[in-house]
């Protein structure tokens, strides 16, 4: 199989269709759910899809072991590509190394300005032209709204697509039918796309729902869900 075919057959195309072509550069997207539903795997899947398209991504993690996230990429790559039948599997795999930079911060000790500065430094001085940035585990629901606005302005200025995976920090939150906690409410006007993930008992799957996409009337199903075994996006 050629990598082009792999990309075109990816369930992420269905997900992008539900967002009318995807998140788009300069925008903020959020995947939100309770803890333990598989957001990291889902995010790595989205990031790998970009890498396979030869786009550059920055994976920003908070507190997690960088090595651990790198292993996620290896695992997800293995799951989504049957590399034995993939042409140039070695070169394609090499793209994970060349097209991805991991950045790790402590959210408590590093301000959002510094995070933005580091990303800017990477893009400008490190000559890494990022197409998408994935913030994994950023405690968005306790961040200052101003900080989120700064991140949005940065996404616009740098013309990058920015995704967040978010779980509520405080335990006393309530979730709606789509897996969105009420603590997300203040940030809804700032973000461009909001996708909720919730577990559906009947279907034994994690269902993804597009709760916000620009000014559209929503929610609507994202057309994809997470496979309970691999935690990857499937149609």
């Amino acid at each position: 199989m050629e990598v082009r075919e792999l990309i075109s057959k990816s369930p992420i195309r269905v997900f992008e269709d539900s967002l009318d072509g995807g998140l788009g550069k300069g925008n903020l997207g959020v995947l939100v759910s309770q803890r333990g539903l598989g957001k990291t795997a889902c995010m790595v899947h989205l990031a790998l899809d970009k890498i396979l398209q030869d786009l550059n991504v920055v994976h920003v993690s908070f507190g997690a072991n960088v090595e651990h996230i790198m292993n996620w990429y290896k695992e997800v790559f293995r799951e989504i590509t049957d590399f034995r039948s993939l042409e140039d599997a070695v070169d394609v795999y090499e793209r994970i190394r060349t097209n991805r930079v991991m950045m790790n911060f402590s959210q408590e000790n590093v301000s959002v300005e510094n995070i933005i500065k580091s990303l800017e430094t990477l893009i400008r001085q490190g000559s890494f032209k990022a197409d998408a940035i994935f913030f994994d585990g950023y405690k968005l629901t306790v961040a200052a709204e101003e900080d989120v606005k700064k991140l949005k302005a940065f996404a616009k200025e740098m013309n990058v697509e920015v995704w967040f995976s978010v779980s509520p920090v405080r335990p006393d939150v309530s979730f709606d039918d789509y897996g969105v906690p009420n603590s997300m409410e203040p940030y809804k006007p700032i973000i461009d796309v909001l996708v909720g993930l919730h577990y559906n008992d009947e279907r034994s799957r994690v269902i993804m729902t597009v709760v916000k996409n620009g000014d559209q009337k929503l929610p609507r199903p994202a057309g994809v869900s997470l496979d309970p075994k691999t935690m990857l996006i499937v149609e």
Binding site: N65, V66, E67, M70, K74, F77, R78, F83, R84, A89, V90, Y93, R97, T98, V101, M102, M103, N104, F105, S106, N109, V110, N114, S118, T121, L122, R124, Q125, G126, S127, F128
Partner: protein
């Protein structure tokens, strides 16, 4: 005979500059081995006692392990100080081979750094139980609790605090022993007077919480302790110690001590920990290969009455001749004993037997199991096994990495030439990663090693220790050549012009050996597959084909470097009943290889280094820039508390002189370490340049 249960063979390993040598120095002082403390970069100009080589004292790094024996509260402790710089890891590996336990020194500011991970992996490889010492708690930014978390995360160690520092940074006063719940202070000008007090009230809650964590972690290793914990009873200290010891020996528990060697705090508590939790020689399994029984693995018992089995793990050339450091695994080695070097089968008599204390020595009459001693005037190489009686064992071979850098070296005059040979002869015996050969084409002496600093140190040692004036060429990277696609060959070697002729035909194909994505095992450098059917090449000539291919792989046609990653399959051929020979098939295989190699899209591979650069966050941009300018790839960047650590992969060829550049760009505030991580294809434009340079060099010859 010494009580083996009171003997400890320990090493001290860590990241560069975490204070290993300072710690060793304090251990010597507290065990009354030295009477004054000299600092590594000390103002008194004496340098640390363990850094006995002049060069080490000057650079403030420890190059060769100095072994020394001390006594602490009735325990005999043999301490090996190991080098911290990654270029010298073979020394670390060699020391770990002979040790029963180790102290992993970590910096309370820098935490777990890349080399701590390397060293920890090495300890795992040799199953060395360890305890950790979080040093430099007096430094600004010290955070031992954070380091413990890093040990759990990055080193996957079950790290558990055994003591807690009282105060941090410039307020560091002492430590709280969590087992006995006592505050320990270190009085006197050198902290040698221990004063025990009650735990400060302000720390009580934290200490009780940490103590509970310690007992809970230890209870996994002792059922009785577990029962007492579940019943809410207060367990006795010795029961907890027993459980901690068991867990440590099983490599499932890592006791962590805190302090500051430089400020003389916490070292004595650590020494108690060495005696309590690290194994004695009888508690460690050591294996050897029986050379008389098809290299069958045999378990060595620390039995003093069995024939001697000892390993030479380090050589040093001193003013009295060659000094060989040995570790005795079995039997009792006595002065006057006759031993055999099982590699060379040479017999020798044990003359002078000594115990080393850094650069001073003490004559002894015998060395028992587990002892580390030194012999004089024995002709051997490091890694050799000495046996007594009729035993013919070899200790398992040690892992030796391949050198990645080489440089030509020229003596300035005749006297220097003689001394250079002597020096090289000794260094290559001492250090298997330092290699030397004479290039048959250019007739130049080439030395090879693990990095710029590694070779630099040896060249400097030639100058200082052997008074040998040498000039060195530009360092050269050890490239490799390979192919990127399959190519067929069908080659006939024919020479039938009078006399006995030569005839052989070899046909088949070559293809690249590719590692599957994510594979953990290294791919093979060479593979030979025989698919000959019907005897078109007679069986006796199949090894000749293999040999011919191997010969061809030794020197690639592009740059003259070895070829790797090629699988060769032969599936057809022809022979002549009279004119075919082993030589004819070897020549045909070489011809076939050359024919196919040119068609198989050859490429050049270069060593890629894993580089870890650490410095204040304000220099992150400068660091990214330096990586970027060097064809490097930023793998990750971690930022915390105004400090950043950048992990990158950079070709070795671009790393020459990096330390100077980094220092000047960051006002000397950033530092880096690197190690070989893999080989990767050289970009075409650079490959073309390299080929041009190689051709020019060839022309000059």
């Amino acid at each position: 005979m010494a009580d083996l249960s009171k003997m400890r063979n320990i090493g001290i390993s860590a990241h560069i500059d975490s204070g290993k040598t300072t710690l060793s120095e304090r251990i010597l002082f507290y065990c009354n081995r030295i009477h004054a403390i000299h600092e590594v970069h000390g103002k008194d100009g004496v340098g640390a006692t363990m850094d006995s080589m002049e060069l080490e004292r000057e650079r403030g790094i420890t190059i060769a392990s100095a072994a020394t024996s001390v006594n602490w509260n009735g325990y005999d402790i043999n301490v090996i100080d190991t080098p911290g710089h990654v270029d010298f890891t073979v020394e670390v590996e060699r020391s770990l081979r002979v040790l029963d336990g180790a102290i992993l020194v970590l910096c309370s500011v820098g935490g777990v750094q890349s080399q701590s991970i390397t060293v920890d992996k090495q300890m795992d490889r040799y199953h060395v139980p360890r305890i950790a010492f979080i040093n430099k708690c007096d430094r600004t930014g010290a955070n031992p609790l954070h380091v413990v978390e890093q040990m759990k995360e990055k080193l996957k160690l079950n790290a558990v605090l055994m003591d807690l520092p009282i105060g941090l940074e410039d307020k560091l006063e002492g430590v709280v022993d969590l087992l006995r719940m006592k505050a320990v202070y270190f009085d006197g000008p050198n902290g040698q007077i221990l004063r025990e007090e009650e735990v400060p009230q302000s720390m009580m809650d934290e200490c009780l919480e940490r103590r509970a964590m310690l007992i809970e972690a230890a209870s996994d290793f002792d059922d009785k302790l577990m029962e007492m914990v579940l019943d809410g009873e207060e367990p006795p200290v010795d029961l907890i110690e027993k459980a901690v010891r068991k867990g440590t020996l099983e490599l499932k528990f890592c006791p962590v001590f805190c302090g500051s060697a430089h400020k003389n705090k916490g070292v004595q508590v650590l020494l108690d920990g060495v005696c309590k939790y690290l194994p004695d020689p009888t508690e460690v399994e050591n294996r050897a290969l029986d050379l008389d029984d098809n290299e069958r693995e045999v378990l060595l018992t620390a039995d003093p009455d069995r024939p001697v089995v000892a390993l030479a793990f380090k050589l040093e050339d001193g003013q009295y001749g060659q000094l060989t450091y040995i570790r005795v695994y079995e039997g009792t080695l006595k002065k006057g004993d006759e031993l055999i070097n099982t590699r060379t089968h040479r017999k020798f008599k044990v003359g002078r037997l000594i115990k080393m204390h850094a650069s001073e020595m003490e004559d002894i009459n015998q060395a028992g199991c587990g002892d580390i001693a030194a012999l004089f005037g024995i002709d051997c190489a490091s890694g050799d096994t000495f046996c007594g009686g009729k035993v013919n064992y070899a200790m398992t071979s040690m892992f030796v990495p391949n050198p990645v850098i080489s440089l030509a070296i020229f003596p300035k005059d005749k006297k220097s030439q003689d001394n250079m040979s002597k020096a090289i002869n000794r260094f290559t015996k001492e250090d298997p990663t330092f290699q030397c050969y004479v290039d048959p084409e250019s007739n130049q002496t080439i030395i090879r090693g693990m990095g710029e600093l590694h070779l630099d140190v040896y060249v400097e040692r030639m100058r200082r220790e052997y008074k040998c004036e040498v000039e060195v060429g530009k360092p050269e990277v050890a490239y490799r050549e390979t192919i990127t696609r399959r190519a067929d060959f069908n080659y006939t070697h024919k020479k039938q012009t009078g006399g006995s002729g030569q005839y052989a035909r070899v046909a088949g194909f070559m293809e690249p050996i590719v590692a599957l994505p994510g594979a953990t095992e290294e791919p093979k450098d060479y593979d030979f597959i025989n698919e000959i059917k019907g005897g078109v090449i007679p069986t006796e000539y199949i090894p000749s084909c293999d040999k011919g291919f191997r010969t061809a792989m030794k020197k690639g046609p592009q740059l003259g470097f070895p070829i790797v990653g090629v699988a060769l399959t032969i599936n057809d051929g022809a022979y002549h009943p009279v004119d075919s020979s082993d030589m004819a098939f070897q020549t045909a295989a070489i011809g076939a290889f050359k024919e196919a190699f040119a068609k198989a899209s050859p490429a050049i591979l270069e060593p890629i280094m894993k580089v870890e650069i650490e410095g204040p966050s304000e220099f992150q941009g400068a660091i990214f820039g330096t990586v970027n300018q060097r064809r490097g790839m930023i793998i990750s960047s971690t930022e915390d508390n105004g400090n950043c650590v950048v992990d990158a992969e950079v070709p070795l060829a671009e790393m020459f002189g990096y330390s100077t550049v980094l220092r000047s760009m960051t006002q000397g505030k950033a530092e880096y370490t690197m190690e070989v991580c893999r080989y990767a294809k050289v970009p075409q434009s650079i490959a073309d340049d390299l080929k041009k340079q190689a051709a020019e060099k060839e022309k000059k010859k």
